[in-house]
Point group: C2
Chain length 334, copies 2
Amino acid sequence: MLAEKTNTTTPPDWQQLCEPVQPFLDEVTGQLQAEVETFDPQIATFVQYALGSQGKQLRPLLVALSGRASGGLNAEHARAAVIVEMIHLATLVHDDVVDGAEVRRSRPTLAANWGNKVSVLAGDCLFAEALQLAANMPTQSVCGLVARAAKAVCTGEIRQTLQRGNFQLQQAEYFELVGMKTAELFALACALGARLASAKPAAETALREYGEQLGTAYQIYDDCVDVFGAEAIAGKTLGTDLATGKATLPVLLALENTDDAGRKAWLAMLKDGEAQAEAIRERLVSDDIPAACRDVVTGYISNAKAAVENLPTGREPLLALTDCLTHQLDSLDA
Amino acid sequence: MLAEKTNTTTPPDWQQLCEPVQPFLDEVTGQLQAEVETFDPQIATFVQYALGSQGKQLRPLLVALSGRASGGLNAEHARAAVIVEMIHLATLVHDDVVDGAEVRRSRPTLAANWGNKVSVLAGDCLFAEALQLAANMPTQSVCGLVARAAKAVCTGEIRQTLQRGNFQLQQAEYFELVGMKTAELFALACALGARLASAKPAAETALREYGEQLGTAYQIYDDCVDVFGAEAIAGKTLGTDLATGKATLPVLLALENTDDAGRKAWLAMLKDGEAQAEAIRERLVSDDIPAACRDVVTGYISNAKAAVENLPTGREPLLALTDCLTHQLDSLDA
């Protein structure tokens, strides 16, 4: 994660954080791999390829840390992590179709390799399988929670698509979209971790809130990387948000901190975001927007920390995870 | 149905067939309409539009007739019918993206109106909502059955997409694809109708088999309409299978019933299916392929009838439904 998208710059404390739950993460990897066999042989290639878009297993890690903070892990936790990860992978496959993205994690996207048709349907297959796994969980409430989160994720994506080219977007709506399209799955991972360890409702609520705040922080960070980051480090096509007219925090902050004339100049540049990407970037940096973005992300990270401050146990790894993101934030205005 | 795609030619006995379950079908329509409200206001427009692709509610009818044949309908049946219909509508939305279809039920497709991006995500939203409804059903097994069927449908679609342009396709594989992409949801509708009426396992199996055979018959009929039908009657773009290199029964039969030279001539025509559509159609008709197709469909209809012949009650409406399809078959080689 936080190192998820940046293959080459794992924060120094990342390994340390994962180490206690490494057997769990390995179990999740093994179960996901075994899932490939449950697909029709003609589909297995695509599923196998989609699995390659997994990052550092951030969502499984959230299931694990939330479960441990709630009394410990059991067999259902690994299954829940597989489900959340599979929903995540399905949304990545469809996102790449919707965004026309050609590279993810330093390799061609499924859509770039096999076309949009196959990608739409392969995403559907992954999604259906995830829901089937959820339906077969001993804990009956899992399926409903998963389906509800999936609906929110898709709703966030579609609303963002509808806002393409609208740089009058309100910050409040931007944060709401981020909440739906990313934070919802983080929150689900944490809530399932708690639920399956039979956490008390207050603890489940706290962990869900932690996931939501951390997910929001992470998505905003990711949006900033798309504008300010270096492609070689990120391992994916950057600048796509500017090129496709997606209004994200850097641009929204810039538009907020200017007068009418400045606003006009910005909108003219943004209208031609693909060609003007470098000029936009330079202007944002000279306006100190990276630091302002970092402050916003830091605020959400603080909220995440605050959400779990009353948990009796298992708080430290959750806080350490937020520190990983804080560490990566430094690169934004390096 | 059977009149489903043919707005203007409802079989004479269709109304008679629906009449005893009309209150149920109206309830399903009302619940589907109420579902629109559960979507984000920005998505509701697309959901509302997608609902307009409903036909004669064939799948809800199957739920109703199977439920009545199994002891009677209860509140869960209407909900199950809503779920199956919503999955069906979601697949139509994605199919139209994959096929690049511009017209369905005599109006522009969602994709034609709002683009592929919105359509991919709107289909995902519908799919997620259907699974959420399934997860909240009192009968726990529904969600798993629905997710399993959804996976099969998507798998069938993707396999068919991979076979584009392959006119060496074996008939057995064609029938398998038809089974997955269409018959699976018919079978699900029947199985849920039985399951929710607490049918005995043998009765549920019989009704599932009925749905599968009828669904196969219906899809083959639909494929034939695409080749032989009249667009004004069908209410959708026809000839898309020939244009997109989809090998369906008429073409497979023609290729089977010829010698090497004939085969070569056919393949040359099929390679340019869009331009040659009229020539292909004429040649198929002069080779008596419509009659041969009708025989195949009739075989599946007979299987459907045989599947329910030992049901103690409620057999007649199920048989009458197969008669509707038989009646429509007459138009194929008129």
